[in-house]
């Protein structure tokens, strides 16, 4: 360990204060701090600090994403091979999926981190760890056959416009990963919807029936999957969104470690259930008749509410506000699904919409606190007068 440390200190020397490459220190620091927690000590405020830092928090989210990612990779191959017909093993499916998904992840990280590093050097602050999560989320919510250059452009758009333009990590209004998806969705709609995009290499095959369930419902077709299929996840969809089971595992990890807000998740499920149930009672079309509990396991709802809606920066920041925010995300998600067949999946737009309204929700929660205080002041003044 001390050997690596010595080597690192040697490499860092030109980046130290007053040296030639001082400006690029954030870049080298980003790598250094990944190997070692720095030897910085407290100088003001509390003399002792918690073991937790942003790196640890973000890595926890990355770990929680792993079950969904691994299953997503497998499912990519699985969907491909069942359309081909014939026999295949788990490994075949997994390798095929990895061939498709890993390049997307690499592109996302390379493009996104390059921009992050450039901004860190330009602004003279350290590289924030937030992109570790964002960079993984972006490929996970894309259709598998999207060209890599589109991934690159979406990433660049999200990082530049959704994040850095607002001042970087912690300042953004919209969730960057969802912004990337929304950008791709509206810029390249043919690659983001229809019945060909959800199965890898579907365009080269004949007679593919790779509609997502919500897509079929919107088109008024029969759905051939059971609730169990939808829960377990062997269905077409964006790469990592299909398996509610794996997402629940991730959700439990996030809740147990306290990294993501259980209030938002529970609120979302409540909101979506109520809305789905009300539509069931109405029952005017196929989407309305779709059982409310199926709404929870199908499409991107589970992934969105667990990994996207809980982004602490773009979500409501007060504990009461989180309940309201979560419930509204659930309600709007189902509402968009049912009322707007042009966008069969509503969770992306529901979360982005609520991202915009999260500060408003917080405003009313905080305002209530202020009013309590003002009332107390008025009472105190009355007493002394």
């Amino acid at each position: 360990m001390s050997f690596i440390r010595k080597k690192l200190d040697e490499i860092r020397r030109p980046f130290e204060k007053g040296q030639k490459w001082e400006k690029f220190a954030p870049a080298i620091n980003a790598f250094d701090t990944f190997l070692f927690v720095p030897n910085h000590t407290t100088h003001k405020g509390a003399h002792v600090r918690d073991a937790v830092d942003l790196k640890r928090t973000m890595i926890t989210v990355v770990l929680a994403l792993m079950p969904a990612l691994v299953y997503g990779i497998y499912n990519t191959g699985y969907q491909h091979f069942i359309q081909l017909g014939g026999v295949f093993t788990f490994m075949d499916a997994f390798l095929h999926g990895a061939m498709k998904v890993v390049p997307m992840i690499i592109v996302s990280y390379v493009v996104g981190l390059s921009i992050e590093f450039a901004f860190a050097v330009y602004r003279g602050h350290e590289v924030n760890e937030g992109y570790l999560v964002t960079g993984l989320l972006i490929p996970m919510i894309m259709p598998v056959d999207i060209p890599l250059w589109m991934v690159a452009i979406s990433v660049a758009f999200a990082v530049l416009i959704a994040k850095e333009a607002f001042g970087g990590t912690g300042m953004n209004i919209l969730n960057p990963a969802l912004t990337a998806r929304a950008f791709a969705f509206f810029a390249y709609p043919t690659y983001m919807s229809g019945n060909k995009v959800w199965v890898s290499e579907a365009t080269t095959l004949d007679g593919v029936s790779g509609e997502t369930i919500l897509g079929s419902l919107a088109a008024g077709q029969e759905v051939s999957y059971t609730t169990m299929d939808m829960f377990q996840g062997g269905i077409p969809g964006s790469i990592a969104e299909t398996s509610a089971l794996c997402i629940v595992v991730g959700a439990l990890m996030l809740i147990a470690t306290g990294v993501a807000s259980w209030r938002i998740m529970v609120g979302g499920v409540i909101g979506a259930s109520i809305m789905g149930f009300l539509f069931n009672l109405w029952g005017a079309n196929a989407l309305m008749q779709f059982d409310w509990f199926n709404h929870l396991v199908v499409g991107g709802f589970a992934f969105g509410i667990v990994f996207m809606a809980t982004d602490p920066v773009s979500a409501a920041q007060t504990e009461k506000g989180k309940w309201v925010y979560g419930i509204l995300v659930g309600i709007f998600c189902i509402m968009i699904r049912v009322f707007n067949p042009a966008y069969p999946e509503g969770v992306m737009l529901a979360i982005l919409l609520m991202n915009v309204f999260a500060p408003t929700i917080d405003h009313y929660v905080v305002e209530a606190n202020i009013n309590r205080r003002k009332k107390r002041w008025a009472k105190a003044q009355l007493k002394t007068a």
Binding site: M1, I4, R5, T33, F34, L35, F36, V37, P38, N39, H40, T41, T42, K44, G45, A46, H47, V48, R49, D50, A51, V52, D53, L54, K55, R56, T57, I59, T60, E126, N128, E129, G130, G168, T169, G170, M171, A256, T257, G258, V259, S261, P312, V313, A315, Q317, T318, E319, D362, V366, N369, I370, R372, R373, K374, R376, W377, K379, A380, Q381
Partner: protein, 448 residues
């Protein structure tokens, strides 16, 4: 007349090296010092020059904003040095101890004295700075009649002292001090530990509050907030338990006692225990008595590890603190320290560490355990801030210097110390106490 107050949010950090319940009389220290930095927003003006002879109780310097508030020598001797820092700011006023001369004031029965007489005596004797005023935690304004005086004997900070233990033989003086304070205001609140019903719980002529719960339950701010919260333009005063005894002693003997019992605590302390000495005593002799190896790389803190001020063995004990915390410096690298659940021996309130599973006392150093980042994680500050105040929103208002918002979000009800646990626990390593302190300077300048 006892009222219960149970605080739920917060965290008790269990550290190694808590002071054993032994009190040792300190050998007289060779030098004593007054540290103007102990007093928030004070500009000191010197009364005396270097080399002047002083008695115990001789005024040494006074407050520029109110010359009636003066700071007196805790011992008799010679004013040895006025240590100045940048811009000639006075850092330490060092007095070399010699002899036992003391100024004796004429005192009477507090119950038969007028309020102005008591105020004048406290100011003259040097006891006045014991009383601090909210908002801002500045030395009390003698012209003000506060709506209440708060005393908290429930100390919850890491390694903090047990007032019930070391003041158990001075309850009579404590009661006398309370009788004096009762002439200054209509209401005194005395917060005591729910589990001790013998010592302070027997004190009379106060509103008793039996407090329980984790840190910061013992902070005056929390107790004020939950019993009789501050409104705009209202003032309350606070005073530390041992200083109530000091006031009691003044009315008993007519002399400024300057008594200070110090618990020397922390993992590098060989024999952590209590030492009875005087305000401003030198730290090195205390280290020797408690078997601290001053040659090693240690952090000396006047106060607790969350809110105290860094000091050195050759420097002196602060004016208010009963605790001298000593912990190892943490200037070493830790490989892959960001991995969840690694290094669970470091205290952590986050569930990304197994620290919460082990309740045993932990060793802690001064490593930052990460780097400062933008605020990302939400909800963690509220967990350690048991007030009806939104701490993150308040901090953000302070960072932008939005005075109106700061007022409405509750700046008058807090002091930097209340944010100690937030400093400790927040993922982004935001310096919350520093932000609040700067905001208070701004408030003092703009609002007053």
């Amino acid at each position: 007349m006892s009222k219960g107050l149970r605080i739920r949010r917060g965290a008790t950090i269990n550290l190694k090296g808590k002071a054993e319940k032994i009190i040792q009389e300190s050998a007289p220290s060779s030098t004593y010092a007054l540290l103007p930095d102990d007093f928030f927003a004070l500009t000191p003006k010197m009364h005396l020059k270097e080399g002047a002879k002083v008695q115990a109780g001789t005024p040494v310097f006074y407050s520029k904003s109110n010359p009636r508030i003066q700071f007196v020598s805790p011992v008799s001797g010679t004013l040895k040095a006025i240590v100045r820092g940048a811009k000639r700011k006075i850092l330490e006023v060092i007095i070399e101890a010699n002899g036992t001369d003391a100024i004796t004031h004429k005192v009477g029965n507090p119950q038969s004295m007028k309020r102005e007489e008591i105020v004048a005596l406290l100011l003259e004797s040097g006891c006045w700075p014991f009383i601090r005023q909210r908002p801002y935690n500045v030395i009390a304004d003698p012209e003000v009649t506060p709506k209440a005086i708060y005393i908290s004997t429930y100390a919850t900070a890491p390694l903090d002292v047990d007032f019930e233990f070391f003041l158990k033989d001075q309850l009579e003086q404590f009661q006398k001090g309370i009788d004096v304070l009762n002439q200054l205001t209509s209401t005194i609140y005395l917060a005591t530990d729910q589990n001790y019903r013998d010592g302070f719980a027997k004190i009379e002529n106060v509103n008793q509050i039996a407090v329980s719960g984790p840190h910061p339950a013992g902070n005056e701010s929390i107790i004020i907030h939950h019993t009789n919260p501050l409104a705009m333009h209202e003032k309350v005063w606070t005073i530390r338990p041992e200083d109530v005894v000091n006031i009691g002693l003044l009315f008993e003997t007519g002399q400024y006692a300057a008594q200070r019992t110090i618990a020397v605590a922390g993992s590098p302390v060989g024999k952590p225990h209590y030492i009875k000495t005087k305000i401003g005593a030198q730290i090195a002799p205390l280290c020797e008595m408690t078997q601290v190896d001053t040659q090693t790389n240690l952090r000396y803190i006047n106060g607790d590890v969350l809110t105290g001020r860094q000091t050195q063995p050759q420097s002196h004990i602060g004016f208010y603190n009963n605790l001298l915390s000593i912990i190892p410096e943490g200037n070493q690298y830790r490989m892959f320290g960001w991995m969840p659940f690694k290094d669970s021996n470091i205290p952590s309130l986050s569930k990304t560490s197994f620290s919460w599973l082990f309740n045993s006392a932990k060793e802690v150093d001064t490593n930052l355990n990460g780097e400062e980042r933008a605020l990302v994680v939400t909800g963690e500050m509220e967990k350690v801030f048991p007030m009806d105040i939104y701490p993150m929103q308040l901090l953000k208002a302070c960072m932008t210097g939005d005075i109106e918002k700061m007022e409405f979000l509750g700046i008058y009800e807090v002091i930097p110390e209340d944010f100690g646990l937030i400093d400790f626990a927040n993922t982004s390593k935001i310096e919350a106490q520093e932000i609040i302190k700067n905001a208070m300077y701004l408030m003092l300048k703009e609002v007053g």
